[in-house]
């Protein structure tokens, strides 16, 4: 086993006293505290880290940060599995288990790399043409093959055992990026009096300074400012935290990661919404690759990354190194690597070399070729040699590492999220953020200030300006100087190479120069079309390294300048975000609250099968009545129709309506009149929406002249209250009425059945419950065990029935009392399935019929409002379209075939119809009727074919069933209501 044989004996920001064991593709390896997964792999000589997305080409670590397109790994096992993580941004932790992706059966030997032979199928526009074009059928054929071949890592399917959190945080000044500019900005803003949040994705502060020698002046400057910030109480430093988006109201969305599997108790990721009064963007810049044939081979690396691996991680990533560049910056890496003993050659595309740097390089025996670019690379799993094109003719040198530098692109992603278009700057050949809105500031290389001295200076000024924006203006002492001698701007346009083989622009999405040429040839010329047609920049790293090369290529093909071609729009998230982090603790039972009625515990203890109805838990049926719901609900219906049943209806919405104008108010909100309702009486009421559609139904009882007690359906309780408040606050403020929800104050139960009055009389012996004292729709108020009790004689089932209201805390007591004294009369509880079935038999409409599309006339309730005007929805309910002759109206259906059944949702046709499409209507509710001995249902059916007595076909395609049904009155039972009265 190789163990850190690429590691240098000294140096770097790793702790050699703290070795860390981890595994990669099943191999046990060692690294050190301070490593990333990528640096530890490189230290162990592992340069092959993955296979590419489409062509399964071998790929190696390309960068040293979150812009990594190649070295994507899956971390963890089982429920903790997380795919597509850049190894370059993962802090190494003891016990970390990582796997390479998109290879089968192994990374070194990938059977599917033969996909290279199928390359023509997978060129640009393949997906587009396959899905959208006339060859769409081809997808059927290719799907299996493509799904297996083209893909990134797979997510886990097991439940994630870890905890995630969502937090809110606040600051005066938030600073994105902890490099020299961000550190300087944080320091200045803190001295000037701001509460500062400094956000850094890395586990170390320093940004590009971490790529400098770990014992030089940059390191000393960094250590000093870190100490200084640690001593400022108004600075919060958030390391390991990625700002993935910025949203309205200066809200930064952050993810704080903790990838250490042994840290117990800590949340694995925390989603933080940080609200700041001012934001300073100091996100730095990302180095650009060069485009040439086979530029994706393992062993090709960004020059700055090679320098980072050397200086920060004490890893020498190659011994025979070629540095290909367009700019001065790469010389510094070449010099550092040569000083460490590597053999280094520089191929500079420019013919005029930087005199000072070139001289320094030559002193270290670095060979420099001017006016030279790479034409091609040799080597499969690892680079072996580079072929040049240049004035000296074609030549070739052996090498084991190719460092590339095509200049730098400022990280304009975050500023673009709020719609700030990047603008092109010719002097640096790149895009910087356009005009930032008030309260947003920029500093450092992100704003085109590439030298360290300039970054520190611009950060300092941004810190003071942002603090002034927050209304504070204390002075901040100037920061310590650090001049590393870089040029202020350092740009030279890369010369396009003459491409023979595959030259990659987007490594992660496997987009080549040929794909861009094809897109251009086929007319997909705008950058936004180019992106979608080629999938350029649509990988998990969103084209962080590829964007500029692609724009350059397209601009060249169109013979335009880069600003004429434009850039694509960056959208959040800047880096992939785990859904679990956004959900935080809102998972499982915590996803939504559960509402329990006051009698809940009794139901559970007494064999109720509970059902979730919206947020509520309600008894579905009681197991004492049957083995399953179908057996039980019919038995419970028989009990209610034959003796008496007790139902928990505490979930009803309850609203107290008070005030001198309460009756006028109810007259306007209900389609039927309430002004003349006598005190002590209840009335069924229907509310419409402004557009004339039925909103909700319920009952309202007049408790006294100016006080009413309204009930709503369970589902609409919140909406009805809010609507009533809206009308009182905005439409009719002159009405002296107050509405208050009392839904949770009252436990409610219904005693229904022919024996219900006997139960009541036995339960409340002192109370006169005779038909004279308490007629149908009557109301009495009394007391039970010192608690107020309201009894309203209302029926939903069609039987004589009483709704009993008592304070919530006494609910179970009254419930038990009723069952105890009611036992002699056969009283037992029943559940919502029986309740629903009883109302269908009685022809009462409910949620399935009041579905937001039906009018009073549709539901057969038009007569309720026949002679009234001036109520909500009155005018628009009269629209001509609502009166169309084929408008679907409520009908009753009974099953016309022996031994068959109706089903809710079945589509209705009449004899002679072709059975296709939406039919003439649909069944909304069904039940087996013990009274009639057959299935009955409610349906909405076109009125022009809904004559009672005629037949329809009910088809249920899910079960391939068709059954004949007869149209009847929706009131199947006791049409005169004799059971209710008397």
């Amino acid at each position: 086993m190789n163990s850190n044989d690429r590691r240098l004996p000294a140096g770097g920001r790793i702790d050699r006293m703290r070795p860390i064991g981890f595994s990669f593709d099943g191999r046990t390896l060692n690294g050190y505290q301070g490593d990333t997964l990528a640096s530890a792999l490189l230290a162990n000589g592992i340069t092959l880290t993955g296979r590419s997305f489409k062509y399964h080409r071998p790929r190696g670590t390309f960068s040293a940060g979150p812009e990594e397109p190649n070295a994507l790994v899956t971390l963890g096992t089982g429920g903790r599995r997380e795919p597509n993580l850049p190894a370059t941004a993962l802090e190494l932790a003891q016990g970390m288990i990582a796997e390479s992706q998109n290879r089968w059966p192994s990374l070194g030997f990938d059977l599917q790399s033969v996909n290279g032979l199928f390359a023509p199928f997978l060129s640009a526009g393949f997906y587009y043409k396959t899905f959208m074009g006339p060859t769409r059928r081809a997808w059927m054929f290719y799907e299996h093959f493509i799904r297996r071949a083209a893909g990134l890592g797979r997510a886990g399917t097991e439940r994630d055992p870890d905890r995630y959190e969502v937090r809110h945080a606040f600051a005066d000044v938030a600073i994105v990026g902890g490099g020299p500019a961000g550190l300087s900005a944080a320091r200045a803003a803190a001295y000037a009096g701001s509460d500062v949040a400094l956000i850094e994705q890395d586990f170390l502060l320093g940004g590009q300074l971490l790529s400098e020698r770990s014992d030089g002046e940059a390191a000393a400057w960094l250590k000093a400012i870190e100490t200084e910030l640690a001593g400022l109480p108004n600075v919060t430093v958030r390391r390991r935290t990625m700002a993935f988006g910025i949203y309205d109201g200066n809200t930064l969305a952050l993810i704080e990661r903790n990838d250490d599997p042994v840290v117990q108790g800590a949340a694995r990721q925390v989603f933080i919404m940080l609200r700041a009064r001012a934001v300073i963007f100091a996100a730095g810049a990302i180095e650009r690759p060069l485009v040439f044939s086979n530029n994706d081979r393992p062993g090709v690396m960004l020059t700055s990354a090679a320098r980072t691996y050397f200086n920060r991680f004490a890893v020498l990533p190659g011994e025979n190194i070629l540095v290909a560049t367009t700019n001065d910056g790469a010389y510094r890496a070449a010099i550092d690597l040569a000083a460490a003993g590597a053999r280094v050659t520089i191929a500079d595309q420019r013919s005029i070399l930087p005199a000072g740097l070139a001289e320094e390089a030559r002193r270290l025996n670095i060979a420099i070729r001017s006016g030279t670019q790479i034409a091609d690379l040799r080597g499969g799993h690892a680079v072996k040699a580079a072929k040049f094109a240049g004035p000296g003719g074609n030549s070739e040198i052996a090498c084991d590492l190719v460092c590339v530098s095509g200049g730098w692109s400022p990280t304009v992603h975050l500023t673009s999220h709020l719609g700030v278009r990047p603008v092109y700057r010719d002097d640096m050949d790149g895009f910087v953020p356009g005009g930032l809105p008030a309260g947003h500031f920029g500093a450092g290389s992100m704003m085109g200030r590439f030298s360290t001295a300039d970054a520190i200076d611009s950060g300092h000024r941004a810190g003071i300006e942002a603090t002034a924006f927050c209304g504070k203006s204390a002075a901040a002492p100037a920061p310590a100087r650090l001049d590393l001698g870089e040029a202020a701007t350092d740009a030279f346009r890369a010369i396009p190479s003459i491409v023979r083989g595959k030259a990659f622009v987007d490594f992660q999405m496997d987009v080549t120069t040929k794909d861009i040429e094809l897109a251009h040839r086929e007319g997909y010329e705008s950058v936004e079309h180019l992106k979608r047609y080629t999938t350029l920049g649509m990988g998990t790293e969103q084209g962080k390294t590829s964007n500029f090369a692609a724009l350059s290529a397209m601009a060249a093909l169109r013979q335009e300048t880069i600003p004429q071609t434009g850039t694509t729009t960056f959208r959040p998230p800047y880096a992939p975000v785990a859904i679990g982090a956004l959900a935080g603790r809102s998972v499982g039972r915590h996803f939504k609250p559960i509402r329990r009625t006051p009698m809940h515990d009794w139901h559970v203890a007494n064999g109720a099968d509970m059902l979730e109805v919206g947020l509520w838990m309600r008894p579905y049926f009681y197991r004492v009545a049957g083995r399953d719901v179908n057996e039980a609900y019919v038995a419970e219906m028989r009990m209610v129709r034959g003796a008496a049943g007790l139902m928990d209806i505490s979930t009803l919405g309850k609203i107290d309506v008070q005030g001198p104008d309460a009756a006028i108010f109810l007259d306007r909100v209900y389609a039927n009149g309430f002004a003349k309702l006598p005190v002590g009486r209840a009335r069924y009421g229907v509310m419409l929406r402004d557009d004339g559609i039925v909103f909700d139904d319920g009952t309202t009882t007049r408790l006294s002249e100016n006080r009413f007690f309204m009930t709503t359906s369970t589902a609409k309780a919140a909406d009805v209250l809010s609507r009533l408040e809206f009308l009182l606050d905005t439409a009719w403020p002159e009405l002296r009425v107050a509405v208050t929800s009392v839904s949770d104050e009252w436990a409610t139960m219904s005693v229904a059945g022919p024996k219900s009055r006997d139960v009541l009389a036995a339960a409340f012996p002192g109370l006169d419950v005779s038909n004279e004292a308490l007629p149908h729709m009557g109301f009495i108020e009394t007391e039970f065990a010192g608690r107020a009790l309201r009894i309203i004689r209302l029926s939903y089932s069609g039987e004589r029935a009483y709704e009993i209201y008592v304070g919530a805390t006494a609910g179970e007591k009254v419930w038990r009392h009723l069952l105890e004294v009611g036992a002699a009369f056969g009283l037992r509880p029943y559940g919502v399935e029986a309740l629903g079935a009883l109302r269908v038999e009685k022809g009462h409409v409910a949620g399935p019929e009041i579905d937001g599309r039906t009018t009073l006339d549709d539901l057969g309730l038009g007569r309720m409002a026949a002679k009234r005007t001036g109520f909500v929805g009155d005018v628009l309910r009269r629209r001509p379209a609502f009166q169309a002759p084929n408008r679907q109206r409520l009908v009753g259906l009974e099953c016309a075939e022996e031994g068959k059944r109706l089903r809710g949702g079945a589509i209705l046709f009449i004899p002679g119809d072709t059975v296709a499409g939406h039919g003439r209507g649909r069944i909304t509710s069904v039940t087996f009727s013990p009274e009639l001995g057959r299935y009955v249902g409610l349906a909405l059916l076109a009125a022009d074919v809904a004559a009672e007595g005629s037949e329809v076909f009910a088809t249920y395609p899910m079960k391939a069933e068709t059954v004949r049904a007869r149209i009847v009155s929706p009131v199947f039972l006791d049409p005169k209501g004799e059971r209710l009265h008397g």
């Binding site: 109201g249 919404m273 306007r668 408040e725 809206f726 606050d729 403020p733 909500v872 005018v875 628009l876």
Partner: protein, 88 residues
């Protein structure tokens, strides 16, 4: 990501509120029989890019209906007041 400064309860997250639509449209009188007036009230909206007066209810706070002036382009809130004028 919105926060609304409720005149009763102070600055609160938008999760506590319910949106109630365009507040610049006048509701016809409850007994106005004109279908055209109700049609305009229910269906016709300008949907402007820019300042927009709209109703929000502080449902998990004081339950007051508010009129919020919000810029639809950047969600900047210029003013918040009670919809019921007597409470202003």
């Amino acid at each position: 990501m919105l926060r609304i400064e409720c005149p009763c309860c102070g600055l609160r997250d938008h999760d506590e509120f319910r949106y109630g639509g365009d507040a610049s449209i006048t509701r016809p009188g409850h007994d106005d029989p004109d279908p055209e007036a109700w049609y305009r009230y229910v269906y016709v909206r300008k949907n402007p890019p820019g300042p927009h007066r709209e109703f929000w209810q502080h449902v998990t706070g004081c339950r007051q209906w508010l009129v919020v002036e919000r810029d639809t382009r950047d969600h900047a809130i210029a003013s918040v007041g009670f919809a019921r004028k007597t409470r202003a």
